[in-house]
Each structure stands twice: as C-alpha cells, then as structure tokens.
C-alpha cells in the first residue's frame, strides 16, 4: 500500500514532466471556471441592482395613476393625451384611506419647473405631496425637517430638496434655511432628503423637490393642476400579505366612485412589488442561464482532461505495467492517475476563480453594477472543478488500473 506522500509526489512528478501539456489541459478548466465565476458574479450584480431599486421604491406600495392600462400591459404613467388626466382626486385618496389594510395614503401632484438659487438653476421634478408621502415611499429626511399637515394645508412656500437638487444648487453650503425661486415665487428650503439612487429604469430618484400639495396646486402647476385632481396616489399597505387584496379593493372602490366598469377604467393601480419581483426573477433566470452556458465550457474542459489522461495512460502503458509488476495494486494506480486528473482540474479551478473574479470586477465596474462574489460560489466553483477532475479522470485511471502487467511490459 502506497503512502499518501508518495502518491502525491508521484502524481506531481508526472504532471511536471510535461508542463506545457499539463498547462494546456488545465486551461480548459481555467476558462470554464473563470467564465462560470464571472458570469454568475455579473448576474448576481444585476440582481442585487434590481433588488436595491425595489427597496428604494418603497415596500408594500400601490401607485394609482390616472388613465387606462394599455393593452400591451404598459401604463400611461403620466396622464397625457386627450382624456383621463384629471380623473383622480384628493377625495379618491381620502376614500382609499378608509379601506381595510391601508397603512397610509399619499396623493401627489407632479409638476416641472425651474428652480433658481444661489445664481444657479436646475430643472427637477417637483412633487406636491402631503407629509405622509415620505412614509408611503419609505423615504427619510437627511437634514432639516419635513413640512407638517398644517403647513401643507396653509400652502406655505416651503420645500424639501432631493439629494441631487441640493448638490446642484448648493454645492458648498447647507441648503436648509436657504431661499430658492420657483415659478416667480420665493420658497424656503426646510429639509434635504436622503439619497435613494437610481430607480429600476435608471432615472435619478433624487432629482426631485417636494413641496406641499396645496402649494403646488395653487402656485406652480399650470392649468392641469387646478381643481381637486392629483397626478398620483401612493397607497402603502399594512403588509405584503394584504397587498393583492388591497389592489382589488382599490380598483373596486374607484370603479364605484368613477362609475366605470371593469375594462373601461380611467385609472390604473400599479403593484410595484409584483413588477419588480418579476424583474428580479428575470435577472435571476438570466444569472442561471449565463452560469449554465459557462458550465458547458467547464464540461468541455473536463473532456479535455479525460482526453489527455487517456493519451497519458497509453503513453505510459509500460510504466504502469512495470509499477504493477513491482507491487503496485490496482488501487495505487487508480489513485495516482485519479490524483493527476484532480490536481489538473483543481489547479485549473483555482486559477480560473482568480481570473473569473478579476473578469467580474472588470465587467461590473464597466457596467457600474455592484460586485457580488459569495464565498459559497467561489467554494462551489473549486468543488465543481474537483468533481470534473474526478468524473473525467475516473475512466482513464480505471483503464490504467486494469492493465495487464504482462501485456503492458511487452508493449514498446
């Protein structure tokens, strides 16, 4: 019975005796593992990106917008075109607030206007909101404060800036307490929002100014903003479990209030978590797909190992016969050739992992995605390459072990 240390040095010697061949054989596994690692990391990065933007949208959120859903499944998010842009009202929002399972309801009116301050101007999204908007959207104040309900009802000229707007207009000083001009009026900045980053579609969610809803309707919106209508109602459910029921309840309620029938709706209830969930699932499928395709190249690497091991067994037939004649058991030969194959594949796996991580880092920084490499995935890549060595080395090693020493010694 061979000692383990002798087994290792014997296999190592055989591999080192033909370094170029060993390197080229390992290359198949290197490429396979590197592409699996890089692709899975890239896919996981995309997935993490999607999940991040889900979280930034606010959880358990329904968004009600005016206008009907298009047949393609999309939504006329902004009430453009001929009809339906003013179908949602503050009264609708108050009615929704009475439904079971509602945590908070926040009607809002969107406008776009230039904001001038400090000799600089900027053209952000202006949202007229009620104070509950922050809770509905899971948004926090970074500095200063949010306006309260009294200030909202009094249509005070105060605003809260998104992080992008704050940076653009007040690059070097604290915006809180500063004055800005919008639509000919002067407004005081009372707070700055925490940064949310990009949304799922890549839009900058921080390029926004929050003002009291009443203020926006009276002083900023054009004709469109007049009256009781709002451009959006954010409805936060008490929990994820009631979200779907609540969506139906909101639809039923609005149909009653608007006297429309199903199919003729003049509003759309968007369930953001279901949309983003689908997006997350899509990227996950994408990750598996990329990983799967790369796994095929690992398979090809394994076949390369098997090929070279078979060649090696044929070349070394005489050596194997001699070793058996001198007392090597079948198990000794099996283990030596098996170890050679596993060494090739695991060495390839480790190098492949390093190259894969480097490649993933390069690609994620190119696409500005988060770099997600789990130790589990790295471990799996190594383990999988070892498995490839065992699987594809098994047959050549078995062939070597089965050689008849007399036949083998007679071979030239």
């Amino acid at each position: 019975m061979m000692r383990t240390s002798d087994l290792i040095s014997s296999a190592g010697r055989a591999l080192r005796s033909n370094p170029l061949r060993s390197a080229l054989t390992a290359l198949g596994v290197i490429i396979g593992v590197a592409s699996v690692v890089a692709m899975v990391a890239l896919g996981s990065g995309a997935q993490a990106q999607v999940e991040r933007s889900i979280a930034s949208l606010g959880s358990n959120l329904l968004i009600v917008v005016p206008g009907a859903q298009r047949s393609g499944g999309g939504v006329r998010a902004q009430a453009g075109g001929g009809m339906g842009w003013d179908t949602l009202t503050i009264d609708d929002a108050e009615a929704i607030a009475q439904l079971d399972g509602v945590a908070v309801v926040a009607p809002s009116q969107r406008a776009r206007t230039q904001v001038i301050a400090n000799g600089l101007n900027w053209n952000p999204q202006v949202e007229g909101v009620t104070p509950s908007y922050l809770e509905a959207r899971d948004w926090e104040i970074a500095s200063g404060r949010m306006f309260d309900e009294t200030e909202e009802r009094q249509a005070r000229r105060i605003i809260v800036l998104g992080a992008t707007v704050a940076n653009e207009l007040f690059p070097n000083l604290d915006p809180v307490g500063q004055m800005v001009r919008m639509n000919g009026g002067t407004f005081e900045v009372i707070g700055v929002l925490e940064s949310k980053g990009q949304s799922g579609s890549g839009a900058d969610q921080d390029d926004v100014v929050l003002a009291p809803l009443t203020t926006v309707k009276r002083r900023i919106s054009g004709r469109r903003g007049r009256g009781d209508s709002v451009s959006q109602i954010s409805v936060k459910a008490q929990s994820e479990d009631v979200l779907n029921t609540l969506q139906q309840d909101v639809e039923t309620l609005l149909r009653q209030r608007h006297r429309t029938r199903e199919g003729e709706d003049d509003f759309t209830v968007q369930n953001l978590s279901s949309i983003t969930e689908t997006a997350a699932q899509t990227t996950q499928v994408f990750t598996y797909l990329l990983g799967g395709i790369s796994a095929v190249s690992l398979l090809v690497g394994g076949i390369g190992i098997m090929n070279i091991m078979l060649v090696s067994v044929t070349e070394r037939t005489r050596e194997i016969g001699l070793r058996k004649a001198l007392g090597a058991r079948q198990g000794d030969i099996l283990r030596q050739f098996g170890l050679e194959a596993v060494t090739l594949s695991v060495a390839g796996g480790i190098i492949g992992l390093i190259l894969g991580v480097a490649g993933a880092w390069l690609m994620t920084s190119l696409f500005t995605l988060p770099l997600v490499i789990s130790p589990l995935n790295a471990g799996l890549a190594i383990a999988f390459s070892g498995l490839v060595g065992v699987l594809f080395g098994a047959y050549p090693a078995w062939r070597a072990a089965q050689l008849d020493p007399i036949e083998a010694l007679r071979r030239e």
Partner: protein, 237 residues
C-alpha cells in the same frame, strides 16, 4: 533444504480463435531455497510463460503452483501485487527502468509500494546500489548509464523488497558478451550470499554457469540437470 517452488501438472492454455496454444502442458518441478537454476529451451517453448506464473504476474489454467507457501492460482489481483512486492524480485531483458527517475529512485520504487518510510527506503536503496558496484552513480538517470550499469540498477531494484526469489528473464539478452559475464558473476555472488535465483536464457554458455538447468520444449520439461550431470528428476514428456 526446503522447497521454495512446487509445481504440479501446471497447464497454461492460450486460446487464439479456434486454435488453442499449450504454452505449458503439464509441468512438474520443485526448486529449493538457495538454488541457482537456469531454464533453457527454444523460442516458444514456454519459458517466459512459466516465469510469469512463478512471478505471480500470471495464473495457470490448471495445475497447482505454490511459491513460499503462496498458492498462485488462488490469489486475487491485489494479493498477487503484494506477493510480487514482498516475495519476488524481477530482472527483465530490457531493464525496464523508469527513465525520469534516478538510479536511486528506481531502486526505491518497489519499496514505495511496500509502504516503507522514505528515510529507510533511501538508505537501503543506496546500500543496494553500492552492493552492485554503482555507489558513485546513484543520482544518474538511466540514459546516463551503460546497459550493464542499467541492468545492475535493475538487479539492485530486484533485491529491494528482500525477496525470497529472484527471477530473471534473459537478463543478458540485451548486453554484449563481456557485460553479460559480469552480470552472471553478480548473480553467482548473490546466490553465494543465499539468494534463490531462476534465470531464463537462450544461451547455453550462460546456463552452464548456474548450478541446475531445466530444459523445456513445447510446454514440457524435457531435461533437468545439475552442473551438467545426470538428470535429477525424470522428464515428463
């Protein structure tokens, strides 16, 4: 002297399609411990076949052979491997050294499969190389050695497992006459030191240097002489 090898009615058949070759056709003999014996005979007479069975590389089709109380026909592959490692020392016509290993490492090889620790292995291999006169060539690769030197390394390797029996199939076949004489002298010395040696040879000159000659023809033992004297056993024809 006790019998080291006992063979009774040994038969080895090779089936080649419809034909059956009787490589060994009922062979009986015994070889005692400490003997120095040559097996001679024309090509195809079954010498190598017999040596392979004695060495545990092959098993008989029928009949019974025991070597140092090991029943060759009844042993598994792994048992035979251990038997070859512990009991037999092989010397081949073509030396069969591993070209990538040094002389020392080649001699160590059987001891690796015997599970002997490296330090002990190295010491014994060095001592054996010194014994065959290659104390100064231990680090040389086979290609850096002459044929006679290579065969000496092979003989040192055959001695490495402290075998009960040394088997040599045409050990001088690949060597020139003078070198062959040197190798035969080495075998004689080893036998004088107590080793049991069986040599297969074509060469009657070589055979006469042993103490006993078994002559084969067509798978039979046709003569069995001691030092060129009367036959010790009746030949079974």
């Amino acid at each position: 002297m006790s019998a080291l090898i006992e063979a009774q009615a040994l038969v080895k058949l090779y089936r080649m399609g419809d034909e059956t070759v009787h490589a060994l056709d009922g062979v009986n003999f015994t070889i005692a411990r400490g003997e120095y014996c040559a097996i001679v005979g024309p090509s195809g007479s079954g010498k190598s076949t017999l040596m392979n069975i004695i060495g545990g590389l092959d098993t008989p089709t029928s009949g019974r052979i025991t070597i140092a109380d090991n029943d060759i026909g009844a042993m598994s592959d792994d048992d035979l491997a251990v038997f070859r490692n512990q009991t037999i020392g092989f010397v081949f016509q073509s030396f069969n050294l591993l070209p990538r290993l040094t002389a020392l490492e080649n001699v160590e090889l059987p001891m690796i499969y015997g599970g002997i620790i490296p330090k002990e292995r190295r010491e014994r291999a060095a001592a054996l190389l010194a014994r065959v006169g290659l104390g100064a060539r231990m680090g040389h690769k086979p290609t850096q050695l002459s044929g006679g030197q290579q065969q000496r390394v092979a003989i040192a390797r055959a001695l490495a497992g402290k075998p009960s029996l040394i088997l040599a199939d045409e050990p001088t076949g690949a060597l020139d006459t003078n070198t062959g004489i040197e190798i035969m002298a080495l075998f004689r010395e080893l036998n004088a030191e107590g080793a049991t040696i069986v040599i297969v040879t074509h060469d009657h000159e070589v055979a006469t240097q042993t103490r006993r000659t078994i002559e084969m023809r067509d798978g039979h033992i046709v003569a069995d002489r001691v030092n060129g004297q009367e036959a010790r056993h009746d030949a079974h024809v």
